[in-house]
Each structure stands twice: as C-alpha cells, then as structure tokens.
Amino acid sequence: MLVQVLRVVLAIVILGTWEITTRVGCYGPDSGTCVVDPFFFGQPSGIWTQLVKWVQVGTAQGPLWEQIAVTLEETVLGFAIGVVLGIIFGVALGRNRLLSDVLGPYIKAMNAMPRVVLGSIFTIALGLEMPSKVALAVVLVFFVVFFNAFQGVREVDRDLLANARILGASQRQLSRHVILPSALSWILASLHTSFGFALVGAIVGEYLGARKGIGLMIATAQGTFNANGVFAAMFILAVVAIVAEALVTKLEDRLIKWRPNAITEVSI
C-alpha cells in the first residue's frame, strides 16, 4: 500500500516538475525567462493532448490502433522466429562440440557487431514493408536467446545427466527429460530481454523507413519538430512493453513452477 502511494507521489512530482518548469515564464510577455523550453523538451499536458488527438483523429499515416497493430505484428513475428531459431541453434551447438567449435568464433564476431546497423541493409534489401522490420527484430532476438539456450545446455548438471543415464534414458530421452528442462529456465529468463529487443528491432526498422507503425510516427514527429509527439509515441511503447513483460512472466511461471526463484539472465 505504502509502495503504491509512494509510486503515485513520485509520478506526480516528476510530471508536476516537468509541467511547471516548462510553463513558468514560457508564455506571455516575459517568455524569454523559460526554465525548460517545451519546444525541445515537450510538456506533459502537450503529450496528453497529442495522445487524445491520435486516438480521436488518428495519426498522419492512419488510425492509431493500426499503427500499434502493425508494430506489434512485426514485434511478435520477429520475436517468435528469433526465439525458435535461437533455441534450435543454441541447443544444437550446446550438444555438439564440433559444431560449436566451428561456428563459435563467427557467432561471437556477429554478436560483437552493433546489429542495429543491419536495419539499413534490410530496408534496402527487403523494402519498406513488414519483412525488413521482422528481419531486424529476428536478428536482435536471436542472439539473446541463442546464448542463453547454449549456456543452458552447457550448464546442465553432470550428476543429473549421469543419473538419467543410469535410470535408463536414451539420448533422445536425455534431451527431453534433462537437457531441455534444464536449459528452459535460462531460455525463459532471456525472453524478458528479447521481447524488448524485438520491439526495438521493429521500431528502428520503421524509423529507418516504413509506411506504417509507431516507429514511423516517431520519425514523423521528429521531422515536424514535435517533441510532444515523440514522447507520446514513447508512452505508447512503454505501455506495450509493460503488458508484454507481464505476459512473459506469466508464461514463465506456468512453465517452471518447479523453481523457487528466477535465475537472472546471462549478460552478453
């Protein structure tokens, strides 16, 4: 209860300070003494107006819900493809020494590159439609999931493997009953970050060139020096991210109810 009250108070203080500092001395005759210029830094009330306008009138490139839907579709597609590929490669390389020795250096090198730059390549190669955004999201998600899955397979307790073999498990049963469940907690831990990455991929992709989507709204707002528009789009993104995070946590709780508390994911 106290926590909730303090949270609300904090939000009021921050938004209030922002609103007041962008108001005092910013309008009327003495507008030169403005503390923080709302033209550059936006203003909570302005952001709200912008949001209401988007909801009621729609955005420059169509209704608001359509932009959100497009971005979400790209994000979810990129996320799903990236997760599946990451798990497949992670488990394969984790189980196969030769494969991991051969591919390891390349994957490390690829991981070291700032992959967001690939967005430009994808926009050139795949055009302004959805595929280029999905591709960028896939690339961003893949590495996070891949490294976690790989690590998860590598970290499987040797005693548990030995025990399963003694109990009579075949290679396939080992994978199914020991290696995958053990790696699953690592993989699930990575889903939190990787959904965020998928969203980044979709937004950056749209920003670089698109016909629809929240990323394009940001680009448009930037082009018209509309700081409030940028913030309003950010606000929408934050809501989407929080909802997604809650869904992932729910999925995680369902899949690994055997675990007392969460492993923190690997930092890459």
């Binding site: 307790d157 005693d159 548990l160 030995a162 025990n163 399963a164 073999r165 003694i166 109990l167 009579g168 498990a169 075949s170 049963q173 009953h177 020991v178 469940p181 053990s182 699953l184 690994i256 109810k257 055997w258 675990r259 007392p260």
Partner: protein
C-alpha cells in the same frame, strides 16, 4: 549367497586430467571382487577414489588401465542392471516426487499408469506418502535423499551402488533407513557396494568392509564381518564382536586418514 562373481575390478587404474593440465591418478591397481548377493562397504579417507570406483563399476567412467567386469562382462557402457544413488543430490528439480520416482520405469518403456502405480508404492516405502506432488526444492535434504533411494530401488537393480546415501540424515532416520535397506536387500538379493565415511555404518551393514588407501586409491585391507543376520543397526554396535572388528579396521583406516589429512594440510600450507 552364491559363489557367482557380480563385480570384479582387476588392476583398475583411473587417471584424470587435473585443472592445471597434469595427469592425476585417482585409483591405482585397485582389485575388488563382489560376490553376487554380497553387501560390500567401502571406506577410506576423503578424496581416495571411492566415488570414482563406483563410477567405474556403473560404466559412467571407463578405467584408464585394468578391467572392470559386471557378471563376467567387461563394462563398456552404462548397464541396465545397475542402480546408483549418487553422493550429491541428483533428483530432477523440474520433476515432482512422483515423476522423479517413476522416471526409471518410464525410461525403460513401462507405460505411465503402471510406472506411477509402482512409484506410489516406493514413495510409501521410503516414508514420503502425501508428498507425491511436491517438487524437490520443497523437500528437506533428507527427504530428497529418500526420493533418490526410491528412484533407484524401483528399477530392482542387480548391482546397487550407493555413495554415502545416508550422510545427510539425522541419526534416528538414518538407523531406520539403514534397517529398511537391509530388509530390502535381504528380499532382493542384489549385490551392493556401499560407500561411507562412517565405519560403524560400514560394519553394521556389510558382509565385507574394504579399506581404500589415501589417494591414489588401492585396496589396503578387506575384512569379513561375521556378525549374524538379520541385524538391528541400532543395537549391533554394542556386541563384543562388533567392537573387536571396529578396533581392527580402524587401525588400518586411521593411518590412511592421517596420511590424507597431512597432505591436505601441507597443500594448504605451501
């Protein structure tokens, strides 16, 4: 007890590569024979290679030299007739007690209903009635050990390897479980290799006690325990013959424990 040989290690040697890249000999020329149906206890100072010996018998590790045979066959892979209660907790944290115990039959192709029914019986036998749906992290260390025991015994192993299975239990539970194990063993006639730190436990349980030297491990002495069966673990240690045997074996064991202790101390000092 028949004269058939269940387990035979001849000049078994095991070398590991230590973390600094050198070759490290854990076992050297270890000879050990276990007759079918025999209960053999293995004692020795820490790090002398007791767990390694069990790993060789189970087929999880291959000897660097020498031979390991189970029922006359050289061990080349993990055998179906072997049960192994590990020193460390090795129950599957993502499986409930029931699924953990049913794992063996399931892996061996028994259908789920049948496997679960058997598992329930074993869960009851190790005193975990009502905990079928629990996950290992919700159990105490001793309870997990009992899950491991049920998980192993449900497969009716002809060769039963146990690595300090009761060291995590309190004294009372321990005596109970020891008696329970002896009863089970008497009814199944499996050949047991039972590793323990506790000489009293070794003498109380076994037909034969094998003392292993401080690493590299090899057999220092073998003692036949000629105490009558059935035994009651809680009472047997007061018998004169028990005390006599204890004195005899402890003489051997003490020297090895001291060697091992001195080594560890010197390693820490240097």
């Amino acid at each position: 007890m028949s004269d058939q040989v269940a387990i035979q290690l001849q000049k078994a040697t095991k070398r590991f590569t230590s973390p600094n890249g050198k070759s490290f000999t854990a076992l050297r020329d270890l000879d050990l024979t276990v007759a079918a149906g025999e209960f053999t206890a293995v004692v020795g100072p820490t790090g002398c290679g007791k767990s390694t010996t069990l790993a060789l018998i189970s087929g999880l590790e291959a000897p660097s030299a020498g031979t390991v045979r189970v029922f006359g066959e050289p061990v080349s892979a993990v055998g179906r007739s072997v049960g192994y209660v590990f020193q460390r907790d090795a129950v599957f944290p993502w499986k409930s007690v029931l699924d953990n115990v049913a794992m063996g039959p399931r892996m061996r192709g028994v259908d789920t209903g049948q496997a679960n029914a058997e598992a329930r019986q074993w869960i009851a036998r190790v005193g975990l009635d009502g905990f079928e749906r629990y996950y290992p992290h919700q159990l105490s260390g001793g309870m997990r050990k009992r899950v491991a025991l049920a998980q192993t015994l449900i497969n009716h192993p002809k060769i039963l390897l146990m690595d300090e299975p009761f060291s995590a239990l309190d004294v009372q539970t321990r005596a109970l479980m020891e008696n329970e194990l002896l009863d089970l063993w008497a009814s199944t006639g499996s050949s047991v290799v039972f590793v323990t730190h506790d000489l009293e436990e070794a003498i109380g349980m076994a037909d034969r006690v094998v003392v292993i030297t401080a690493g590299p491990g090899t057999v220092k002495g073998t003692y036949r325990v000629d105490l009558p069966r059935p035994r009651n673990i809680a009472e047997i240690r007061f018998q004169p013959r028990f005390i006599e045997l204890y004195g005899e074996i402890w003489n051997d064991l003490r020297d090895e424990v001291l060697v091992s202790y001195e080594r560890t101390k010197n390693r820490v000092a240097s």
